[in-house]
């Protein structure tokens, strides 16, 4: 669960002397939104994002400015003029959980990953890398079927569910728990690597569990009898 397993290691970087048109080109060519700025020793100095570049460009709606003058100004602009210097960086020993929480806290799209002692750039982790990890955790790249089980918020429920499924020799793609569902309840989502789940659903119901019925939304559309 350490960041160095999920981060992108072949980082596209840029020199601080480069022009902002070059930065824009590189972002388009590599389809990235963040370019770490490094020196000759691969030490991190800053980061330039697609938003930094766009903010530096004149607005489409401004018609009064002198285009020639504006062009000259932009051509002189270097990456170091627009890059962010006070970066939040993380080290390779940070965990995925750290990165997720930090991203939510600081509302940023990516963190450069640097070695704490040398300040050398080791990689970058973006929202997209975290999404890939999440798809991996869900297990949905493999064929399977989802069953949602509603359980009381008390000890031993998970064991019952896992045991019941394991007894049927069904493999798990993933098991996720949604902590907040109805009051006092949790929802356990088991992604099972099989095509045949109807007998499993009946078995869980016999054990006293409520199976989340995806058809409920559909029935909810119709007027209720007592209304």
């Amino acid at each position: 669960m350490f960041i160095n397993k999920s981060m992108c290691k072949n980082v596209v970087t840029i020199d601080k002397e480069a022009g902002i048109f070059r930065a824009r080109e590189m972002m388009m060519e590599h389809r990235v939104r963040h370019l770490p700025v490094v020196d000759a020793d691969n030490k991190l100095i800053g980061m330039v994002t697609d938003r930094d570049v766009r903010s530096a460009m004149p607005s489409l709606f401004i018609e009064t400015c002198d285009i020639g003058e504006e062009k000259e100004r932009l051509e002189k602009l270097r990456v170091e003029d627009i890059m962010t210097r006070n970066l939040i960086t993380i080290s390779p020993t940070y965990t995925l959980q750290d990165a997720l929480l930090l991203m939510q806290k600081h509302r940023v799209g990516a963190f450069p990953v640097v070695d704490e002692e040398s300040n050398k750039l080791k990689g970058i982790i973006s929202v997209r890398d975290l999404m890939r990890s999440f798809i991996n955790v869900l297990g949905i790249r493999e064929p399977g079927t989802l069953i949602g089980v509603l359980v009381e918020n008390k000890q031993g429920q998970m064991k019952k569910i896992i045991d019941a499924i394991t007894e049927e020799k069904i493999s798990f793609g993933s098991v996720l728990v949604s902590r907040y569902w109805d009051e006092g309840k949790r929802a356990v989502f088991t992604y099972l690597l099989t095509n045949t789940v109807a007998p499993m659903k009946r078995k869980l119901e016999k054990l006293g569990f409520e199976i989340l019925d995806p058809m409920e939304w559909y029935l909810d559309q119709f007027p209720k009898k007592d209304e």
Partner: protein, 316 residues
């Protein structure tokens, strides 16, 4: 009235999947019973199983996979690639017979001896990938047929309509780069149902972009929503593509009484779908339509569904 072929053979019952497996030999018995009890057999061109020329299987599966499957059967393994895929010694041979019988049948359509046909075969095929067995499927029957039509009969555009309740991941992946085979599937939404592919945004890759189309349906949806989706997605796309031959991956598992899915099609809903497909085949494919059985596990419902299916093909 049309001349309709019907492929059925007791040899297809020999692919054994063990106790409690939904993809059981009784399925084909139920299909056969429905058609026999309706007194259709004398009006149909009856086809038998025959082994496929391996070259057609090699066109869609890697030789490594084919040999791996054969060896697994010879070795007596009862499970292949996933625990879902239960099998026996004979399974490899029966899978060969499945493809072979279908190719013989489609040959008659191309020779003009019959108009259309229903192939009641096991094991099914639409989940089978190039290198992997999946969801009770070993050889991708309809994919092999599409390649056979193109190479043996010079067909330029094949249209595949998959209305099994599960997405035909294998068929989609085999043709997603290929603009000459249009794959359309309507199925239960992949977030709720096996195999977890067939989302709306899967529309083909590279040159094949625009030649794959998926209509995922939510649990609880049935006739009304199926009609709407087919009218807005399938028919316009196929009328534009103009397939020279249409292959239907027919699954009866979207029926409300079938517990393999949450989709609630009625028996009448199934008839409506088939009628509209025939209508389209008449207009753009000179009536050339081959229906190949995929899923359908509700034994009490299979006779009537199969009977209606064949009756509509015969245009009685």
């Amino acid at each position: 009235m049309k001349k309709t072929g019907f492929l059925h053979d007791d040899k297809y019952l020999l692919h054994e999947t063990g106790p409690y497996h939904p993809e059981c030999p009784e399925r084909l018995k139920a299909v056969y019973k429905g058609i026999k009890d309706a007194d259709f057999l004398s009006k149909l061109t009856l086809m038998e199983a025959s082994p496929a020329d391996q070259k057609w299987i090699e066109r869609i599966h890697s030789i490594k996979y084919i040999l791996r499957f054969e060896e697994a059967c010879l070795y007596g393994m009862t499970e292949f690639d996933y625990p879902d895929n239960q099998m026996c010694n004979e399974s490899y041979d029966i899978a060969m017979l499945s493809v072979g019988g279908i190719l013989d049948t489609v040959k008659l359509i191309m020779e003009g001896k019959i108009d259309n046909a229903f192939c009641s075969v096991r094991p099914p095929g639409h989940h089978a990938e190039m290198n992997k067995a999946m969801g009770f499927c070993y050889f991708n029957n309809v994919a092999a047929t599409a390649r056979y039509l193109q190479e043996e009969w010079g067909i330029k555009r094949v249209g595949i309509i998959d209305f099994d309740v599960h997405h035909g991941n294998g068929t989609q992946h085999l043709f997603e780069h290929d603009p000459t085979v249009f794959y359309y599937s309507i199925h239960e939404h992949p977030s709720f149902s096996f195999p977890g592919t067939g989302r709306e945004f899967e529309k083909g890759v590279g040159d094949g972009e625009g030649f794959t189309l998926n209509s995922p349906m939510l649990p609880g949806q049935g006739d009304r929503e199926y009609k709407k989706a087919l009218e807005s997605d399938l028919f316009p796309a196929f009328y534009e593509f103009k397939p020279e031959v249409i292959i239907a991956s027919t699954g009866f598992d979207a029926h409300i009484d079938d517990d393999m899915s949450g989709i609630a099609l009625s028996t009448e809903g199934y008839s409506w779908i088939m009628k509209r497909i025939i209508e389209m085949a008449d207009k753009c494919s000179d009536g050339k339509l081959l229906s190949v059985l995929e899923g359908g596990y509700c034994l009490p419902r299979l006779p009537e569904l199969a009977k209606n299916h064949v009756e509509i093909l015969m245009d009685k």
